[in-house]
């Protein structure tokens, strides 16, 4: 699949899709979207890039093993889940900042949890896909 059109397009698609995945992640609390979908879109971005340019080049862009994103994402998720304990509320209660942030909107523990999910999904799906395409 190394046609020149696909390869050129994939160079532009990668940053675009990554940006789009972050957009999906941020709008996820009240509108369709969220960490899971965002993570899938981000991993699709890398998968397209690897189809067009080969696995090695994509590996070079990411620089570290994608599996490493799993524990990091879990740290985000567990942190967001346990944060309400500090104020004596049950696990996973939603805590929100009073005022919306510019660009991002309302920020709360749910957003951090979603970010964790986002990272875990990227880590898991890229690990699976890279491992399978290596052994094929």
């Amino acid at each position: 699949m190394k046609t020149i059109i696909f390869r050129t397009a994939s160079d532009y698609l990668l940053p675009l899709l990554l940006l789009f995945s972050v957009f999906i992640l941020l709008r996820g609390h009240y509108l369709p979207g969220g960490g899971f979908v965002g993570g899938l879109i981000a991993s699709i971005a890398f998968v397209i890039h690897s189809f067009a340019n080969g696995l090695e080049k994509t590996r070079n862009i990411i620089k570290f093993h994608p599996g490493f994103l799993m524990p990091i994402g879990l740290v985000f998720a567990i942190g967001a889940g346990a944060a309400p304990w500090i104020v004596g509320q049950p696990f996973m209660s939603g805590l929100w900042f009073d005022d919306p942030f510019p660009v991002i909107g309302m920020v709360g523990s749910a957003l951090f949890f979603d970010t964790g999910v986002y990272l875990v999904v990227i880590g898991v799906s890229l690990t699976i896909i890279f491992t399978i395409s290596e052994t094929l």
Binding site: P71, L74, A82, P84, Q89, P90, M92, S93
Partner: protein
Amino acid sequence: MSNPYIVLPIIFQLFLAIVLMFCWTQKNLQKLVSTVGSLIAVIIAVIMFVEVWEVGPMVTQAGNWEAPYGITFVADTFSVLMVLLTTLSGLGVSVFSVGAVRNARVKFGYFPILHFLIMGLCGAFLAGDIFNLYVWFEIIIISSFVLITIGGEKAQLEGSIKYVTMNLLASVVFLTAIAVLYGLTGSLNMADLSNKVAEIENRGLVNLTAILFLVGFGIKSAVFPLYFWLPASYHTPPPAISAIFGGLLTKVGVYALLRVFTLIFIPDAFLITLISIMAALTIFSGAIGALIQNNIRKIFSYLIICHIGFMLAGLGMYTEIAILGAVFYLTHDIIVKTNLFMVSGLMFKIKGTYSLRLLGGFYKDYPKLSLLMAIPLFSLVGIPPLSGFWAKFYLIQGGLEVNNLVLVGFIILGSFLTLFIIARLWSEAFWKTGELVPKKLKVKYFHELKPLKRTAIVASILFLALISLGIGLGAEYVIQVAERVASELMDPQAYKEAVLGKL
């Protein structure tokens, strides 16, 4: 009583797994973290147990949504008892793994997955929501799938295919049961379901749902006639993994059965007869299966099935005394079965074989170790004052109370067959002069291991042996705990009030 910290055992195991994932490449650090972490988990569980013992059931609503709508976690005496036992045998297995699990397996993430598995177990015991219970079951089985296949030997892969298939099937049946239950009541909270199921007029439909649950949990806990995946798979992974499987995975099914059939579905005469028949045949087929086996791990696998029957018999009699016996048996069985598979691992490390025909001469060569191994073996039989005796005593008393003499007969038969099997194992493996087994290159023998690893293996067996001695000699206290668990199970008013608030 509301307490936001009762999910701590789950979160702590998750935390441990994350830390272990961060030190993916440092094998020795992983072993240290896993051992120390398991010790802390035991301390957390003990604190929780004491707390619940003093103030009664504690509840937290994850996400702060109120009871029938949110996801509830409940810690009543039964839950915390199970969490305590899980962390105890988790500690044992974690120490044993330091000595017995090969570095190749550690490299593929053995320790993080082990803690994910224990997290799933703690979650299943604390869940107060039936769908949440399903999710924890899935976490348990997916971690167990990884553990059973890690290493990828031929027998292991074949065993895991049988294991995976039956467990996936059990999940589907369980999910179907949840769907029907949700259609019937419109609720998923177990305390709420308890009230709503009692009000349904169409009892046939309720019984059907109950049987779906019975089949789903029955596959997981390996009762007759759904047990055949267990002896085909439990002897294939390395002993450390068999230990946690044999000790805990089937017991989650038993826990779920005890919980669901005392809280949500109060069994009528038909269900009680069905459960009694299943229990009797489970005892019988497990014991008969164990009789003809030659591989010690297969013998222990069949004995798991046989003793699952004892616990199911407690449920089948359905009196407070019988449930007390079942809970006591559960307590004793988790510790002893974990220990037995570790003992089989130690025997393999010494001789390089699991075959009863080839084993022998342990008592002559290792008299002290043999005495240590005798404790779990004879606890299992239930020779007084070791731990199995008291549980059977109460089970039989319960059976006599409801005049279910057939079931009592099967329990006595099962005990005798267990005695015979263990006596045969003892005389074959320990007293008989062993044959010279040719040295296998792949096996790392006990005397070739580093002293630290040898100490870890013996220490873990000693630790669990001491606990089962403690259960036997301190039976008075364990009976108090089991009595309270049984009374809470038979009269779930306190549980419901803790979850739904005073009505």
